[in-house]
Symmetry: C2
């Protein structure tokens, strides 16, 4: 990033299962303009790209036209950074049965470089570019949303591995016994099955069943309990809800202790809805990490919550890929 950068903007595309949000971002991480389309309205990727290019036109015009844009970054599920493709994405109608060269398609249409990676990697790059990980060379981003994702930065570089899919820490096995919860990936006992938003809601349901502890969560139909309900109850001091966060944080802390043996990161950066609980989640994480990490790593890593604004973080993260192209 140079103050004399002749093309001072990048495009970020946060491609989600419901909405695809396009944003124009400047070098300081300001989102200048956004526009969005519905991801699944389109039957083919060609139609999706057509609609995307149309949606981009007015916001590109706002900053003086495409000559002002350096590159475009896309954060999307099931993304292969090396190939610029979305591959067999179960939740995308136009990409669930094959390999879609989305980066190349946008690049051809816009005539700028386009990079694509999964949303957690995009979040990590965004955090490094604009957020709490500025200046860090070794950190691990953990996104706590519908699933648990991760983006790993080592030696100042994203870790993509041999195939572009590295950094799936939501799928380390935390419970090896036959009682491990079934995970969306088809296996059992994964971190994601416990520490995602849906995992937290499930933990609450299990705790309600297995104890007599009074809880305001008992006023909700068990199947309707969400992680937000648990968070609100915990915020009011509801003991059962607090124990759900204690359980969730403990497992995340133990997982981070394992991650430290791999990367010895300077920081773990957490992002996503569950982090709204603040210390209710972070304190159990830190305690469990301290208790379980190898002594050589103890008291070294920081535990941080993303500083990126929720509404724009995904677009910002995606856009940050653009600076690296």
């Amino acid at each position: 990033m140079d103050i004399l950068e002749p093309r001072p903007f990048v495009i970020g595309l946060d491609l989600g299962g419901t909405n695809s949000v396009f944003g124009i971002v400047d070098q300081r991480g300001q989102v200048i303009a956004t526009n969005s389309i519905k991801t699944q309205t389109y039957k083919t990727v060609e139609d999706f790209v057509d609609a995307g290019v149309e949606a981009l036109k007015p916001i590109i015009a706002k900053v003086g036209g495409i000559t002002q844009i350096k590159a475009m970054g896309i954060g999307a599920p099931n993304s292969n950074f090396y190939r610029g493709t979305i591959e067999y994405a179960p939740n995308l109608t136009w990409a669930h049965t094959g390999v879609v060269p989305l980066a190349e398609m946008f690049s051809t249409r816009l005539n700028i470089p386009v990079g694509l990676t999964n949303d957690a990697n995009a979040a990590a790059i965004g955090e490094m570019q604009y957020g709490v990980a500025r200046g860090m060379k070794n950190f691990i981003m953990i996104t706590l949303g519908t699933g648990v994702g991760s983006g790993i930065v080592l030696n100042g570089q994203m870790v993509y591995g041999s195939d572009g899919f590295a950094g799936e820490l939501g799928h380390v096995t935390m419970v090896r016994s036959s009682e491990g919860r079934t995970c969306g990936c088809g296996r059992t006992g994964c971190l994601e099955a416990y520490c995602s938003a849906t995992g937290v809601a499930r933990t609450a349901r299990e705790f309600l069943l297995s104890s007599e502890e009074p809880s305001e969560l008992r006023n909700i139909n068990p199947e309707d309990i969400t992680s937000l309900d648990v968070s609100i109850a915990a915020g009011k001091g509801d003991k059962l809800a607090l124990s759900v966060y204690e359980f969730t944080g403990k497992m995340l802390g133990e997982a981070c202790a394992d991650f430290a043996t791999f990367a010895s990161p300077e920081a773990f950066v957490f992002f996503g809805g569950l982090t709204k609980a603040g210390d209710l989640l972070m304190n159990p994480i830190k305690r469990a990490y301290h208790d379980h990490v190898m002594p050589v790593f103890r008291d070294k890593a920081k535990f941080l919550i993303s500083s990126l604004d929720d509404a724009s973080a995904a677009v910002l993260g995606a856009s940050a890929i653009g600076w690296e192209l």
Copy 2:
């Protein structure tokens, strides 16, 4: 490595708890000459370095003097690559209570660059420089010796993490229940407590106690059983010994499945005494990996045994650091 390299040799020092072996190595990984001293004969690090420099003189002379030497690499326990220090090494009389700047001390005496890292990282660099990992950018080296060590290479670079100590995969927690075995690191349930040479011997003792299966291992005093005994018995088809390898390989394969979520490596490279068992160990590893790894990583990583000659591998690995300085 250039064919016109004006200084065509490096020094490798394999610094072990018993012996310290110095070797002169050429660019093709040929060990030209070696000499060794007893590591623990010396009360201070100064005395150790003095003796080391004396031991080096005749072998440096053999290749035409120090002007022919590019650099020196040291593989040693409790090493900090960034600082070139050995830190609180419990098994080294002259380094167990403090931080010893060993790289700088040899560098000052020899007037060449000196790098230092732990033996598993050295093995990984050696494998990348001279062995089966030549040309690989993403692989994980796992050393199965008295302990379980690891060296991780991503994007073609060693992973040292924020503090120089990354890559301690022998200490991921594999058994989280209260029944996890005590590990030398002071924690419980670590991979090393099960899959090191001592872990294998312990598994054999446990299996002998918990079953009635006839086994030639019953002819040995349980406390005297070594992993070599188990290997020999397994090689003869001894069922109990085979089940020990099955157990060990299964745990290693499950651990590798977790490591894949982190790094998606091109290969896992195994090194050390236990690999002598060949397919008896490697087949259960591969089976467990296949059964437990996330589908996106399945059938991608290779499982390889180090191609470096056992006798020289540690010196070769250490020397390989020299080419990177």
